[in-house]
Every structure is written in structure tokens, then in C-alpha cells.
Subunit: 258 residues, 2 copies
């Protein structure tokens, strides 16, 4: 427990010098709420984005990840004109994607991850799940299946009309709005769950052992164990940038991967 | 441990009278491999599918799940003609989806879920994750981000050309083939991991306490605890049928949900 607190303090101290302010306000609120509680440390996040991603011009297997590039990334609703303009640069196979909110949180104990998992499921993030690494590191990933993935060009040739692009952008913007609603719901449910659980507030630099009665009851149900938590290889807790795709590969066509 | 074994035996006995043979051969192999080991019990699966799903004709929020229907479901590569024929029945908002392999496995202990999780990640199923229910039930979900979700019609009007449909079906079929390759990879990695771990073979009706040395070492690293495992509400371990969408909602457009 003490090890987790020290490690968290180091991470959050690094974070103060990094890209603060780069997070979408909604996500920043969630991140602050979690990092203000001792058992949680957020590691990476994406508020949700619209993406135009291009793979290689050759449709063959084994094209390395570095051959993909991003023609457009938007974290807010965008317009048809933005997409059409970006598509003018297309030379290969372009896919239009909507990717919803993603959040990774390191958790001190399994019951902390369970609390977060329940909140995520309740808020509509139904692909959320826990990972327990070999060293005992417990990660909760908030994920949703609420996406779009639409092939638009083949070897540089646009396969749909501008009317379809306009329709697609409209659908994607609606998903972006629904995504924002879900983040708000997640924040409210999380706040309520943390209140109900009592939990512990902490400044980033202090370690705390104080545990509310509810947490004590929950922990008594599980066997306490020391955790050896290694720093996450994912780096700072900031918006995932183009090219950062920790959760999946961008398979535009079979064989083309990020 | 004994409770898990008894519960598993009951589930597998039910399964023998259910839709055996309905599983895709690849998935059936994975299911057999897992159920042949005491710490695992598969609950639901889908080998991967192409789907044409239609939501309501009205684009409004809060359309209940029962308003969605499936115009086409294919577990093997399909042809453009199949999709065009199915689209003739469209009256609302239709989305073409490719959904990859999904598998849910109840695990006796956390380290069993961790083994399975490592195998899933190694095989390319990067959205896999563990759920630990309040009663202690441990579920590992094998999931991938390797999908397609393409709006095709708006209020019954087809928004793309037949040429695009042909192109889209070609892309989807390639994803289907890549999906099959990943399932095969998963099977091989799983087989190797189970061999390396020693593990325990069991008939569905017997409970076993014999544990291989490797498992003993792994369990010593974690604190053993009794598990109270409740029967899964998901029902039989069989192919997820149209309308079964345990993992996510089918948001054709914002506000339209299954």
C-alpha cells in the first residue's frame, strides 16, 4: 500500500510538468476526481475522437505500423468540409473512425478496480475490464463498443459520395455528443460511488493510511496483500496522441496494422 | 474451489442437451480445450460475424432495444449479392457491422483469468479484460477492437453505391479471415500455456483438487481464497444469436439502442 502511494506521488509530480491543460475539460474532471483518491492513479486517456487514418497504398500483409498516418484528428464535432479537405491528401486506404472515451486507471487493490468497473458498466462503457499483471499491477480500462469504422478510399480513390461523407459526419457527431453525455454520467456515478465508499482524499505528494469504515468492510472480505506496482510504461497521463493506440491495432485492411 | 467444480459440472451437463454442434469448429475447439480444464468454464461465444442491423425509421433518442432487427447475419465470408438482397428489406437506418471473436470464460481463481488474459493479448485480442463480480465470480472476456461499423441507409434510403457495398464486403471478408487466423493463434497459444502451466484435466462431472507444481508456485504468490461463484446469467455456452449483445449496445445512431 505504501509502495503504491509513493509510486503514485512520483507519477503525479511528473505530470505537473507535462502537458497539463491538454485534457478535455470533461476528462480532466474525471482524472482529478480519481487522482484525488489514494487508491487510484490515472495513466492515459482519450476523451473520444474522430479520426481519418490512412494505411499503405499496397494492399498486402505485414505492412508495418509506421506506414500508417493520420490525416485528421478531432476531439470535437467536425464538419464535412474538414473531412473532404483532409481526404484530398489521401493516396492509399483511408478509414474514418469514431473512437469513444478511453481511460486507464491503476488501482491499489482489486476492490478499488471493482468499484471503478461497476461505475464504468453502469455508465454505458460496457467493454471495460480489469487487467492484473504478473507483478500484481491492477489496471482498470474504461472502454466502450460505441464506435464507427468506415473504409472510405481504396488506393487513393474515394469510394463514397460527398453526400455520404456529410451523412457520416452527422452520425459521428451524434456519437461524439452521446460520448460526452456518457462521460458526464461516468463522472456523476463515480463521484457518488466514491462518496458512498468513503474513500480517502490525498494530495499527490502524501501517502495515507486512513481508511473509511466502508472500505475497511470491503477489504475484510478480501485478503489484503502487499502490492509491488511498477511504473506504467504508458507514460504521462495525457491525451493519447495520433499513433498512440495502446488498445488495438488499426486494421484498415487485413495485413495493414499500426 | 469445490463449489466452482460442482457448478461447472451442472452447466456442462445442461450444455450436452443444448445446441451442441452449433458452434463454429474453430471456436468449438477452444471451448473444448478450456472446459477440459478444471479452472475454466466457458459461458458464451461468437466466432465472429458480419451483420446488417436496422434501427427505427425515426431518428430520435430512446428507441427501445426491441425496435432493432437483423437483416443479415453471416459467420462466414459473404457476397455483395447477399447484402444487396438483405438491403431490399430496409425501411430505416441500417448499419453494416463486422464483429470479431468474443468469448466469455468463468475462471476459478484470478491467476487462471490472468493466464487466459495473457494468451488473449498475445493472440491479438487487445480489448480483453477481467471482471470480478461482487460475489467473487471471475470472468475473462476475450475481445478485439478489430471491427467495422458502417452506416448504410438513412430512413430506408441507401446512401452508398453497389460498388461501395462490393468494396465493403471485400474488406469485411478479409477481416473475417484475419479473425479466423487469430482464433487459430489463440488456440495454439492457449494449448501451449496450459501445457506449460500443467493444469488439470477433468471430466465435467468430477471435481478435482490435484494441482500441478507450476500452479502451486503461482498460487503461492497470491493469497488463496474461497470463491462463491454464482451461475452465470448468460445462459448456455453457445453462439450468441442475433439480438444477443451482452457486451455493448448497438448504437446505429445516437439514441437508438438495442
Amino acid at each position: 500500500m505504501a509502495a503504491f502511494g509513493r509510486w503514485k506521488a512520483q507519477r503525479l509530480a511528473r505530470q505537473d510538468c507535462s502537458r497539463r491543460g491538454a485534457l478535455d475539460e470533461r476528462v480532466a474532471g474525471v482524472v482529478r476526481l480519481l487522482n484525488g483518491r489514494a487508491p487510484f492513479c490515472t495513466t492515459s486517456s482519450c476523451s473520444g475522437r474522430l479520426v481519418l487514418a490512412e494505411g499503405g497504398a499496397a494492399l498486402s500483409a505485414g505492412i508495418p505500423k509506421r506506414r500508417c498516418r493520420w490525416l485528421l484528428v478531432a476531439h470535437e464535432p467536425c464538419g464535412c468540409a474538414d473531412v473532404m479537405a483532409a481526404l484530398e491528401n489521401a493516396t492509399g486506404n483511408v478509414v474514418f473512425k469514431f473512437e469513444p472515451f478511453v481511460l486507464h486507471v491503476l488501482c491499489q487493490e482489486l476492490q478499488d478496480a471493482q468499484l471503478l468497473h461497476s461505475v464504468a458498466i453502469e455508465s454505458g462503457f460496457k467493454n471495460s475490464g480489469i487487467t492484473v499483471g504478473r507483478g500484481g499491477k491492477i489496471m482498470m480500462a474504461v472502454r466502450s463498443a460505441h464506435c464507427l469504422e468506415v473504409p472510405l478510399t481504396h488506393m487513393g480513390k474515394l469510394m463514397v459520395s460527398e453526400e455520404y461523407i456529410e451523412f457520416l459526419v452527422h452520425v459521428a457527431n451524434q456519437k461524439m455528443e452521446e460520448n460526452a453525455t456518457r462521460i458526464d454520467r461516468f463522472y456523476k456515478h463515480l463521484e457518488a460511488a466514491l462518496e458512498a465508499a468513503g474513500g480517502v482524499s490525498s494530495s499527490p505528494s502524501t501517502d495515507t493510511g486512513q481508511v473509511h469504515a466502508v472500505y475497511v468492510r470491503r477489504r475484510k472480505r478480501k485478503t489484503a496483500r502487499e502490492q509491488d506496482v511498477l511504473p506504467s510504461p504508458e507514460g504521462h497521463n495525457e491525451e493519447l496522441e495520433p499513433g498512440d493506440d495502446p488498445e488495438g491495432s488499426l486494421d484498415i485492411f487485413a495485413g495493414i496494422t499500426l
